[in-house]
Symmetry: C3
Subunit: 259 residues, 3 copies
């Protein structure tokens, strides 16, 4: 079977940068299946990239190779990495984009990539990561790419806190439907069901359901979504717009039913 190679960038689609990378990757003398994860990561948003990488990459077959190019520090002293996390491999800048996939991995196997003097200072995705990928696809050992990386950059991720008034978290992702995905894990479902509501910023989401279609169109609902996390949604509508909420908006499962 061809090896899967994925791309996650903030390049947009209209600029040709993604195509330049694909062109280089397809020079590999080995069959590959190219997959776009996303190219509309908000520009320079390492945190958004880390979310996507954590959500999408573990779904791929063992041995898949994931190139992540959200790289505001390109050409500076920040390092470039090859890393193996579980059964997946990554090529990316050492700037935190692996934070979520590394959440439960204390010390991944990783290498700090050699950068050839001829590489541009502004497009290491094309000039360093793509050639490294081609080398790996053609059978090179990761050790040939550079020395062991040692500790790699991890962004802090918002933590869930429990207080006298409830269990507190925040919105960590807004999807294309406007669903508000929180960092409250699915295991808090009994507490959510008992509370019967979720606070999102200053708003009360007072309908707790099993799936979107369990309430009439337009209803604000709280549920366990597909990311094993509690989320707020509007049935066939857009919760982010309705609640003027987004990344970082605080959410709370209140510890009693009083408003």
């Amino acid at each position: 079977m061809p090896r899967v190679v994925t791309l996650t960038t903030d390049f947009g689609t209209g600029s040709g940068y993604v195509a330049e990378m694909k062109g280089r990757l397809l020079h590999a003398r080995a069959p590959i299946t190219l997959v776009d994860i996303a190219h509309d990561v908000p520009a320079h948003d390492i945190r958004a990239a880390a979310w996507l990488v954590g959500q999408a990459c573990p779904a791929f077959p063992p041995g898949s190779l994931h190139l992540v190019v959200v790289d505001p520090g390109v050409g500076t002293t920040r390092r470039l990495l090859w890393a193996r996390v579980g059964d997946q491999e990554f090529l990316c800048p050492d700037n935190g984009v692996l934070s979520r996939v590394l959440a439960s991995v204390p010390a991944p196997v990783a290498r700090s990539l050699h950068v050839a003097p001829a590489a541009s200072a502004t497009f290491h995705g094309r000039d360093v990561l793509a050639p490294a990928a081609v080398a790996l696809l053609e059978g090179a050992e990761p050790a040939s790419l550079g020395p062991p990386a040692g500790p790699i950059v991890r962004l802090s991720w918002p933590e869930v806190r429990e207080t006298a008034t409830g269990i507190h978290g925040e919105v960590v992702h807004v999807d294309a439907f406007g669903n508000l995905v929180t960092n409250l894990p699915a295991v808090l479902w009994p507490q959510l069901a008992a509370a019967g509501r979720l606070r999102v910023g200053d708003h009360d989401v007072a309908t707790v359901v099993r799936t979107y279609g369990d309430a009439p169109r337009g209803t604000l609902v709280a549920l366990v979504g597909s990311q094993d996390a509690i989320e707020a949604a509007v049935v066939e509508g857009n919760a982010a717009e309705r609640l003027a909420a987004g990344m970082g908006t605080p959410v709370t499962i209140p510890c009693d039913r009083s408003p």
Copy 2:
């Protein structure tokens, strides 16, 4: 040759849901070619999905497998289907997304999919359709996926009506150029040519041409487009904006030339 597997969703590209599905599909122990039909179907818009599926899917090689995930009823009692229509196969919710490909097929071969208890309630594309696709790709018989489906949901589609004043239809699709595709079939070309104009809402489109470039830039034109239907367009411009028209706007081929 690898089997073609297509995806049509309303997930957008930035949320990772499409990538989660592709990751699962690529676990199949069989070579596949993944093709994106579109992921920017308007959220929850079954009718728009049905249009796209009807336009694009029949163009693919025999035996292609099309996953369609525009599914506002996910997790409720609506069924999930496998269907063979002509030489194409589909996996989708039973909510009308097949309406256009089924237009001339009275009783397709279809199965109602088993849903495993472990499936999430909110993402059946990933948790039911993708595994069913993998099973099919690896040689499973459709009959193993579930019982015969019986009648499946079909949306009503606007009909062409003929009256004393003309032949009446409506806009059924607006493409990215702003061209207004109608439900008036190409066989009405002689009537359009004889009338010399097309009414679109309150506007007269008074130039009838064979192709866009047959009139000067900026001209409002009526013609037979690539979907075997009569459409209204602005040469190198945007008819939807110019005429403030869209899905459902009435169109008429008047039966004489008087205004």
Copy 3:
């Protein structure tokens, strides 16, 4: 290895036209790898398409076949071409989309395609170019597609001029980050470094750097970008918005440091 076939269009993604072309291409009885260059070329913008084609297509493996369908003249007397430029092949309208890849090629090998009478007048990408691609992929000789093309259309491209006050060019591309790519080539780096600034429209870009991260966030910088050209950027920001600049905005490397 499968042959690479790329697509560059102004169709958008939601209309199904791209999928119709892919469906036809996948009928080829030969293994192919389909790659999207871009489908969000501004509608009818031949110049923008020519830029993208020049940037992206040369990056692909020898023998790749590039379909370019930005074609406001579809169905008129404009010709359709097959061309071999360097080690890449193209199928496209003869309207200038090859201008940049042809910049240094006086007389490419090219054929003017036969158009079958049954082809639609409005979608030659699907009805002429895709079948020609299938024929080539299945081993047809280019000569079988039509007669030698003779001279083909080339758009004039803005030239760099040197005057007493400096070296003058213009913005020729704005990428998704808002970086302003100019037609001033990378070989002018010493002059830029000596001047210490770049004029962009009425604005002075007074920080010259080697890469984006060499100045604090929000700084306006001039540098040599990844397209071997001088560009203006805002560190982790958007230069096009900040300077209200775009395609055609004049840029100058002043010949002294006085403002």
